[in-house]
Symmetry: C2
Subunit: 141 residues, 2 copies
Amino acid sequence: MKSPSDAGDTEECGDPFQWDTREDCDVRQILDRIADKWSLLVIALLDGRTLRFTELKRTIDGVSQRMLTVTLRQLERDGLVKRTVHPVVPPRVDYELTPLGMSLHDTIQALVTWTETHQSEVAAARTSYDARADSELTNAP
Amino acid sequence: MKSPSDAGDTEECGDPFQWDTREDCDVRQILDRIADKWSLLVIALLDGRTLRFTELKRTIDGVSQRMLTVTLRQLERDGLVKRTVHPVVPPRVDYELTPLGMSLHDTIQALVTWTETHQSEVAAARTSYDARADSELTNAP
DNA sequence: CTGTATCCTTCTCGATACTG
DNA sequence: CAGTATCGAGAAGGATACAG
C-alpha cells in the first residue's frame, strides 16, 4: 500500500517492508524535515490563514527568533509555506501555506489531534512504566 | 523559564488556534517525542507485526545501536510499543505495537504516504528556491 | 518589524568497549 | 543476541547585537 513507485522515481523502494528506510532516500530527508518540532507547529498554526512573523513568534511559546527564521526558510524552500514581503515601513512579512502545505496540514493536524486525544493514555503509560522501573530498582539492586 | 505567567490562564487546548503551543503543555511534550526521526520509522515498521531488535536495527539504515535502544525505551514508556523478553539463549526480544501504538500508526503512515506522494514536488520546490537564491547572489545588489 | 551575524552553551548522537 | 556504560565530536539551539 505504500509503494512509492508511482512518481516515476528511481528509488528502489518497492519492498513494502523496506520502503524508504535508507538514509540517502529522499523520503527520509523530507520526513526528517517535516517531523521537526517547530515545523510541525508552524504548519499546524497556519491553518487557512496568514500570519506575520511576530504573530507566529508570539503564538509559539518557547521558539527563538533564530529558530523561527530558520524553520520558516526551510518550509519556504520546501514549497510548503509562501513568504510575502510588503515593501512598507515598518516591514511586514506574511506567511501562509501553499497548496502543497495545505495538503500536508491535514496530516499534521491528524497527528496533533491524536496527541490531544490520547495524551492521558500516554501520561498513564509513563507513570506506570516509571513505577515499574522504580520497583525493579528497589527489588533487584 | 517555564512559567508562562498564566495567572488566570486556563488549560484550554480546545481552542483551534491556540491549542497547545505552550511549552509546558502535555501535548507539546508528546508531540516532540513522536515527531522524532527514529520513533517515526520504528512505528511505521512495526505495522501489524513483531520484530526483533536486530531486525529493526538492520532494517532502519543508519540507526546506531544506542539510538535504537533509546528510541524503543521511550516508545515502550509511552505505551506505544510492547517489549517481550524471551528467557532463552541467545536472548530474544520482540517488539510490537500496543493498541495505542496501532492507533498512532495510522496517522504516522499517513505522514509517510504524504511524503512519498509529494517528494517530487518538494524536490522541485527546493531546486526552484535554490536557483532563485543563486541568481539573487549573482545579481550583486 | 524582520531579519542576519556571531558567540557560546547544551545536548544529541555515534563509536567503542564490555556484560548477561 | 541484546543490551549497558562511557566519552568525545559536532550539531542544534539560545542570547545578544546590529542592520535594512
